[in-house]
């Protein structure tokens, strides 16, 4: 799978893809996009990296294991909902507001934390699954099957 062309291209594709993922995530509050799609785009770029550079390299690049990513994502989601309870409001009640002019009146909402959680879960699930399936097909002595 790993060719020079793919390896060179992946240097550009991966950072751009991750950037685009965050763009979609921020865009998603009012317009099409959001955490789920953003997570898919992010995981595609990570998978491209894996194809080009191999599983070891991906492992080095990710600061945390995929399952930790999923757990943190879920915690973000539950945490957002639970925060409302501390204000005596029902679970999942959200709040929103606007940033100053300097930020182009960007509309923030507490839902964004939830969405970030969704993004982390989706990325963790997709990358983790593809990684696990790829390890099966690759030679065991090259990758090690002790994940």
């Amino acid at each position: 799978m790993s060719t020079t062309i793919l390896r060179t291209a992946s240097r550009f594709i991966v950072p751009l893809g991750l950037l685009f993922a965050f763009f979609i995530y921020f865009k998603g509050h009012q317009t099409p996009g959001g955490g789920f799609v953003g997570g898919l785009v992010a995981s595609v770029s990570l998978v491209v990296h894996r194809m080009a550079m191999g599983g070891k390299s991906l492992e080095r690049m990710l600061p945390i294991r995929e399952r930790t990513m999923i757990a943190i994502g879920l915690l973000c989601a539950v945490g957002t909902g639970t925060a409302a309870l501390f204000f005596g409001l029902p679970f999942f009640t959200s709040n929103h507001g606007y940033l100053s002019d300097a930020f182009d009146n960007f509309e923030w909402a507490t839902v964004m934390v939830f969405d970030l959680g969704v993004m982390l879960v989706v990325t963790g699930v997709v990358v983790g699954m593809i990684d696990a399936l790829s390890i099966e097909t690759e030679e065991p002595d090259k990758e090690g099957s002790s994940r």
């Binding site: 539950v78 005596g88 029902p90």
Partner: protein
Amino acid sequence: MNPHLIILFVILPMAAGIVSVLLHSFKQAQRVVGLLFLLANAACAAWALATVVTAPDAVSRILTSQMGNWPAPFGITIVVDPLSAIMLTVSSVTCVAVFIYCSTQLPTRFAGGYFYALFHLLMMGVQWAFITGDLFNLFVAFEIMLMASYVLFVVGTTREQVRQAYKYILLNLLGSTLFVTALGWLYGQLGTLNMADMSRMAMMGTLPKSSIPVIALLLVVFGGKTAIFPLWFWLPDAYHTLPAGIVGLFAALLTKVGAYVLIRVFVMIFGPSQEVSQVLVPVLMISAGVTMFLGVLGAVSMHTVRRILSIHIISQVGYMVMGIGMGMTIGAATGSKELAVAGAIFFVIHNMAVKCCLFLCGGLMQTHAGSDDLDRIGGLLKKAPWLATLFMIAAMSLAGLPPLSGFFGKFVLIREAITQERWVVMTFAILTSLFTLLSMLKIWSYGFWSPAPEVSLEKADMRRAISEGLMHERPRIAGGMVAVVLLVGVSLSMGLGAQKYLDISTLAAQSLVNPEPYIEAVLGKERIREIEASRLQASRLTMDTEGVR
């Protein structure tokens, strides 16, 4: 209790599941944290039950919270009414016991990895099903519960387990497809899936005629999950392949959630509608009789502990369905309906604790003797006198001997069957009780009472059980006994304090048979009027357009 806090019943198990994933490599920490979360959960449930029972009037007995502050029937509603509170309390206590059992008895390769996370997530699905206020979220809760159960089914990965799990998953996928189809259909006809809103329509008699087949389809879906006749065939084959801890968990939760949903959907939501009751009551009553009788015959014919108990789950479901059917009977006095439903509720919670307890006892028998095949074991009375005593109490409770908990459940149900002059189902209920006693005595006399077999197969059996992942290599029996004692304690308290439990069940049954307070608590007085007016307008509009045509 602040009503918004009822969402804790979803948050706590979910958080416990997440923490278990984060603690992936630290098994001991997972056990400790999991147990703490479960205890907190049980405390919350007891608190909710106390709040609900001591509330001054029927409306304030129902705690509601609207997710994200979106009003019902448009948003997601969660509700804790007396029925939910009882189910939450008993199921959370049972789960504590099963958790203790699993952490001490399950083989290492089960308990490794994600077992504890799945345990908590299964519980999350179950508790969500108990508190949800609309049918679509019930579907989601079911899916969470089932997905966790799919993985728990194959977690030991013996050949037999995977083979049976394949059937189980296929059937449940089919069930889920039917469920979501029925929901879409129902939503198209009623414009709402909110339980309170649907119940209101049933009370006013504005359910369209065409919705009755869809409601019957729902009965098929829930009947499959609860394992009633003729949809019970998947259960006995699937459950007996599992180690005792997991099958105890499934027996305590999965089919009982089905029974809970049957009570909620058919007694509370559609019970007030005459047309629905007319169609469903005969089906329910026939199914109840056949389920309990065939189930127990199957149990008597089996010869391993887990198989006897698995098939026996089905037979017990029959009693619950019998109560539900009598609770929907048209023309019966309200008091009689309430008592029948109260009997069904009492029976569900009794069964949760006792059935689970018996499975755990079966597991401990295997730990002592290496097998749970009644032909290969014996003499356990001498070897484990305490286990024998506890097993006897639980078994007699299941058979319904006074003053144990099973007796009171059956007593109320049979009494109401006499009041409503349902002689056939009553006869079956009594016969089933006798056969239950017989099947329990079979385990007792072969496993405990008879002398130990002359050629001891213990060593070989134990090796095999360990290699099949049914037993821990170095089981700590004390931990398992703690779990059994806890469950027997629950059963004894239900027998000796039956009046208290029946009072609470009756309270729950009252708010089910007459759902007006529930509707008011969820939708509010004003909202009811608003919706009424808009519906009236809509019906006028359609009449006008029909006139134009």
